[in-house]
């Protein structure tokens, strides 16, 4: 008896810590995860933030409202246009400006193009995280076309700054409509290719189905939003519930999946590509004529009060909260970023899985670290 007890003691497994990041291929940035592992099984995931904190909210208190728009590019750089739009909408609502329909439609088209570009990149790195490197290049091929359109429209490919409070910085390029149509036609043939390469793959399905499950109740209590929440069956699309810009003029379906696992979240994003394409198709032929910008004062002063506006970025709900005391700078500015809330659910989803499961789960959270840290 004693012998077997010593034997058990000498083979007793111990939990150990491992630092995943801040330099790690799967965290896609400088996120540090403190993992407690028992062999390959994950016992605890503690995200450690702050490696790319630039105090954007504090810098906003120093800047004018036109300048703030530029800072928001650097939060979630993959939905930079939507971030800019959020700030502009907040300021415009506070000033009670009447925005021309042309601006609204163009903003929505470019917003949806941004969403597609972001999902393309996500799809590429999703494949890479589960070990299929080739997806990355396919995703980038299609994202490149969108970036070219952006470059022609506003001169930038990533940090666009196309929005200003009151409208758009410039009118669209004469080629814009044609190139967007070309892209839509091109991309419609490419989504089935994505499905062929990754979605239908048996190894991929085995890796993702039933992995990192987040129930609807947990999704709500963790405050997750965007495709992550919709993958758990929680209907929360800001575009549906609080339509902004031209989104009230279009019809689209909110994509919902019931399973709440990694594959459900994956499917939500793939199906969202179709919805975004349909929104663009509805609007691209109906861009109304008119001004691309309404005149505002050179120095914008918001009335005294508190203003809030939320939009749906590619990652979820982005909230912009401004407290103004009537001066040219905000008294306090707060961003409710989707990535931060989505990351908070990671521990809940990853515990009990293997290291490979954690990576796959993290990939479908679609984390952009500057969005979490700000």
């Amino acid at each position: 008896m004693q012998e077997s007890a010593t034997l058990n003691n000498s083979f007793k497994s111990e939990e150990y810590f491992i630092n995943m990041g801040p330099q790690h291929p799967a965290t896609h940035g400088v996120l540090r995860l403190l993992l407690t592992i028992d062999g390959e099984i994950i016992k605890k995931v503690e995200p450690d933030l702050g490696y790319i904190h630039r105090s954007i909210e504090k810098m906003c208190e120093r800047d004018s409202y036109q300048q703030i728009v530029h800072l928001t590019d650097r939060m979630d750089y993959l939905s930079s246009h939507i971030n800019n739009e959020a700030v502009c909408l907040t300021v415009e609502n506070a000033l009670e400006l009447e925005i021309p329909d042309r601006v609204k439609v163009i903003r929505t088209i470019i917003g949806e193009l941004t969403r597609i570009a972001s999902h393309c990149l996500w799809w590429g790195v999703m494949g890479m995280d589960v070990g299929a490197l080739t997806t990355y290049f396919y995703g980038f091929r299609d994202r490149e076309m969108i970036n070219d359109i952006f470059e022609e429209t506003c001169g930038a490919r990533l940090t666009m700054n196309y929005n200003v409070p009151g409208g758009l910085m410039w009118d669209i390029h004469p080629n814009f409509i044609k190139r967007v149509k070309d892209f839509v036609a091109h991309f419609k043939t490419k989504i089935p290719e994505y499905n062929k390469l990754l979605t239908g793959n048996i190894i991929f399905q085995k890796r993702t189905k039933g992995v990192g499950v987040l129930s609807k109740e947990d999704a709500i209590s963790f405050g997750v939003s965007g495709p992550v929440a919709r993958g758990s069956g929680y209907s929360c699309d800001v575009r549906k519930y609080h339509p902004y810009s031209a989104l009230d003029k279009v019809t689209f379906n909110e994509v919902l999946e019931a399973d709440g696992d990694t594959f459900a979240r994956y499917n939500v994003r793939i199906r969202e590509l179709w919805e975004s394409l349909s929104i663009i198709e509805q609007l691209i032929d109906n861009i109304p004529d008119g001004e691309h910008r309404v005149k505002t004062n050179a120095v914008i002063k918001l009335p005294k009060g508190e203003f809030y506006q939320k939009v749906e970025t590619a990652r979820g709900e982005l909230g912009v909260y401004i407290i103004s005391t009537g001066t040219k700078n905000p008294y306090r500015m707060k961003f409710r970023s989707p990535g931060f809330s989505n990351l908070s659910a990671l521990n809940h989803m990853a515990v009990g899985g293997k290291i490979g499961d954690l990576v796959a789960t993290m990939a479908t959270l679609d984390l952009v670290i500057p969005d979490i840290d700000r």
Partner: protein
């Protein structure tokens, strides 16, 4: 035994020096010859992999250094040689430095057995296949040592995965080759080729041979730790896995060994399933050196297949990897051997 290449070198040296001196000198010359093949094959395969990967990934790939990038890997190797060799504190220096040699020596020793043609084979022993399997499993010791001695948790996880994976999949490699041995009745590689003059073994053994080939390719890919079985490196999970802490030429050893192992797996498949250096049209005997061409053509085709796997499939999870082996491949393999035994017993072999 037809030790032609060794023998001809030995005879040439005998004319120059005494018998014992010639014996040792022949060893050195043959070893150097194979080192040369090893290096060239490794460098060429690295380039091939990169060009094929680029082709799959809508890129062009390296095409600037030398004609179509032929010198690219040479330049990379030069860079690696000139790099500083770093290591972690409190690593077991002796084992840490020893590990790459295990990997590279096991790959190199196995290369000596490969029958490029009837004449071009360094040594042809009567337990050929058995020796190949035994030698190739030495490599995993190097990986385990490297991961263990690096004093890095990621490397350790990678090394442990490697141990689990190689031990499991070696069974399938061994058993699928054993299935074919039932047809040849000999472990000697030259004998195996001789039997195939009446049709490649994959034709002779028909259905069970095809099953054995498929299992061999899956298990062989897992043996070389390549995607979709690259649990050992799994860069999105473990950084670089077992060789995280290796730099410079020591890293290059691991890297080259991976490619040579891939070549070996394909070469063994060529020998056992596809008639080694025998031409598909039966004209090999008249022009002996053409055998090298056929052998390399068949082998590179299989290498391409393995690269195709790598650049298309996602990676399995570690428990799914073991499930695949122990719950599917191994039982299928055992049944397959019985079927093959029945076919040999009833003489249902297809002879051309």
């Amino acid at each position: 035994m037809p030790l032609s290449i060794t023998k001809s070198i030995q005879e040439m040296l005998l004319s120059m020096m005494s018998e014992s001196a010639a014996y040792y000198a022949a060893m050195v010359v043959v070893a150097l010859l194979y080192l040369g093949i090893f290096a060239i094959a490794g460098l060429f395969l690295v380039l091939l992999e990169r060009r094929i990967a680029a082709w799959f990934q809508l890129r062009i790939g390296p095409n600037r250094v030398g004609f179509q990038g032929l010198l690219q890997t040479m330049a990379d190797a030069l860079k690696l040689v000139s790099k500083e060799l770093t290591g972690t504190d409190r690593a077991d220096k002796f084992l840490y430095n020893l590990a790459p040699y295990f990997v590279i020596i096991s790959a190199l020793m196995a290369l000596g057995l490969i029958p490029f043609t009837k004449e071009f084979q360094a040594f042809d022993i009567n337990i050929g296949i058995f020796f190949l399997i035994a030698i190739s499993s030495i490599g995993v010791i190097g990986i385990l040592l490297g991961g263990w001695a690096s004093n890095n948790k990621f490397a350790l996880i990678g090394a442990m995965r490697s141990g689990v994976q190689t031990i499991s999949y070696e069974l399938s490699v061994g058993l699928s080759l054993l299935t074919m041995i039932l047809l040849t009745g000999s472990l000697q590689l030259s004998e195996i080729v001789e039997v195939q003059k009446g049709g490649w073994l994959i034709v002779q053994g028909h259905i069970p041979a095809i099953i054995a080939f498929m299992i061999y390719m899956i298990a062989g890919t897992a043996e070389t730790n390549r995607a979709p079985f690259d649990m050992v490196e799994a860069e999105s999970e473990l950084g670089a896995g077992f060789h995280t802490e290796y730099s410079g030429m020591k890293f290059a050893y691991f890297f080259l060994a991976e490619f040579i192992n891939m070549f070996l797996i394909a070469a063994i498949a060529t020998t056992v399933f596809f008639g080694a250096w025998l031409s598909p049209f039966g004209i090999t005997e008249s022009i002996p050196w053409l055998g090298v061409f056929w052998f390399l053509a068949k082998t590179l085709l299989l290498v391409f297949l393995m690269m195709w796997f790598r650049w298309t499939f996602p990676r399995l999870r570690v428990d799914q990897l073991l499930t695949l082996e122990w719950k599917y491949l191994l039982p299928i393999n055992l049944v397959n051997i019985v079927v093959m035994a029945f076919i040999v017993w009833q003489n249902l072999i297809i002879q051309i």
